[in-house]
Amino acid sequence: MNRPSATGRTSRSSVAELEADPSAEQSRGAGWGAWFLLVVGVIGLGISVYLTTLHYAGVAPLCSSGGFVNCEGVLKSQYSVVPGTTIPVTVPGMVWFIVSAALALVSIRCARQGSAEPRWLRPGHLIWALLGLASVLYFVYDELVQLHELCEWCTSVHVLVFLSLLVTLGRLQSGGTAAYEGTG
């Protein structure tokens, strides 16, 4: 337990922490995490839009074909559409990245306005990221077990979703979970 030493300072925590309030700490700055999530969302959305456009245009994407890394084969397979429909899986992917970027924007906007983030924002973003990861694992299973092939574009999207999960997890952990106690 930290107590002020004879010099009037704590030995392990910063002054900022001494004066910090958990809810105020979230709102004081969105930090690099929110910006990172926004950038990831934009990049992922761009890739999803690109693949969706190619799907409906019937044009093969710019990628390798043949061998283990064969994105054309993967994108032509039955696993490239939502089961039971003709909707390419890139459409739900677009939705995922749009929502993720929007949640990051809310955090950034709250920081700029100096207001506290909604309490549901970071847990909600983590849940959304977990949903994304579940989808990613399903697609990776299809690629490796069913098709025995990998798609570069798909893998890049999967990596973006995974990184989003790590950052949302870190933001939830760092935002207001530090323990505080009073000394009297």
Binding site: N2, E17, G66, S77, L166, G170, G182, G184
Partner: protein, 400 residues
């Protein structure tokens, strides 16, 4: 150190008590503590008003520098110049320390505890650190992907039994048949191959597969040389709409009276995945004539209905193909005799040449099959169906 002069008690009035030189009179009661937000206030003892910088409270020689109780020598109200008395001087206050107030002395906040509640960050245990959770998630995800890799490496084919007697098609051969150049395909066109697609009369219900797509049903056998030749074109055509997995290679039977040892693929143990087309192959016998796969009742009904006149010159002949109950393909569009003496790689290598008869027949036949598939898939995908030579061949396909 100057000794205080002696005065009689009755002379000790505020007016008559002079300030001694070098003495530090206590003129004020204990000052209230002035606190800054966030700081810990210290109740100061009666601070001597230093008249000159660096002056120290006067002490009697030999007298202790601190009071016995550590209490400040708080002046009694109304009395000045008590530093001249023999009472112990005020001790230098210790920093950060709040000496206890004397009884009766005025102390700030004497009505209660003046210490503010102070927030102090308690370091998180290791398991609550952000990196701990992120690291755990990473480890789990990597482990899952590794499991998928291992399962995928050892998994049997999705459909049918594994054709363990035949080796997997080499990647170089697969690449050649799945990556036929559009330029070569366009230049070859029909390749001199006659339209093999016979439209079904009577407009039967569309044949659809387990995934709800139009289905191509194929009936053949591994011993059959004509089936061997036809498979090259089928693999090329279907690879334009989806993807084969676990495709094995074999040769037709070695009967010298037939067209022996025609190098080819076998659909036994393979799987096909497409968002446009379902593929249902049946390899009825191996190259030695041993039974392999049996058509389902529905498939047998198709065979009984269409693998006969007028669609087939031989009832029950192979290869036999039913494209979505729209077109029947009976026999091979490629003459297996032109494949004699060529192994798989040699056949695959010819597919990049527009001049090779092998390429012309195999690719020409594949283009016809492709055109027929485009007819039943509604010209999807556009990248395959809308360009030459497929669109041209589509227009030439006989209609029922």
């Amino acid at each position: 150190m100057a000794r205080p002069s002696k005065r009689r008690r009755q002379d000790l009035t505020p007016e008559s008590t002079p300030e001694r030189k070098d003495s530090v009179p206590v003129t004020r009661p204990a000052t209230p503590s002035v606190t800054r937000p966030g700081t810990v206030p210290v109740t100061r003892p009666a601070a001597p008003s230093a008249t000159r910088p660096g002056t120290v409270p006067a002490t009697r020689p030999g007298a202790p520098s601190t009071t016995p109780s550590g209490a400040p020598s708080a002046a009694r109200p109304g009395i000045q110049g008590t530093a001249g008395r023999t009472s112990p001087p005020a001790p230098a206050p210790r920093r950060g320390a709040a000496p206890p107030a004397r009884r009766g002395a005025t102390s700030p906040g004497s009505g209660g505890n003046r210490y503010r509640t102070q927030r102090v960050a308690v370091p998180r245990p290791r398991w609550q650190q952000p990196w701990a959770w992120g690291g755990a998630v990473t480890v789990v995800v990597v482990a899952v992907v590794v499991v998928f890799l291992l399962v995928g490496h050892s998994s049997p084919s999705k459909s049918g039994t594994s054709s363990s007697a035949n080796p997997l098609a080499p990647a170089s051969v697969l690449n050649a048949v799945t990556g036929v150049s559009p330029t070569v395909s366009s230049a070859i066109g029909a390749g001199g191959v006659t339209d093999p697609l016979q439209p079904l009369s009577g407009s039967p219900a569309q044949l659809t597969g387990p995934n709800g797509h139009p289905e191509l049903f194929y009936l053949g056998a591994e011993y059959c040389p004509y089936c061997a030749a036809e498979r090259w074109s089928v693999v090329i055509a279907l690879s334009r709409f989806g993807k084969f997995s676990n495709l094995h290679i074999t040769t037709s039977d070695s009967n010298p009276d037939d067209i022996p040892n025609t190098h080819t693929f076998t659909f036994l143990g393979s799987s096909y995945s497409s968002q446009y087309l379902d593929f249902a192959p049946i390899e009825s016998e191996d190259r030695s004539g041993n039974p392999l796969q049996t058509p389902t009742a529905a498939q047998q009904a198709l065979i009984n209905a269409y693998d006969t006149s007028p669609y087939s010159s031989t009832t029950g002949g192979i290869p036999f193909q039913d494209l979505a109950n729209r077109y029947i393909l009976s026999g091979s569009g490629t003459n297996p005799e032109i494949l004699q003496g060529m192994d798989w790689q040699q056949i695959a290598d010819t597919l990049s040449s527009t001049q090779s008869q092998v390429a012309q027949e195999i690719i020409g036949n594949a283009n016809w099959i492709t055109a027929g598939i485009c007819k039943v898939t509604g010209n999807q995908p556009g990248s395959v169906c809308n360009g030459a030579p497929i669109s041209t061949l589509e227009a030439q396909i006989a209609s029922s």
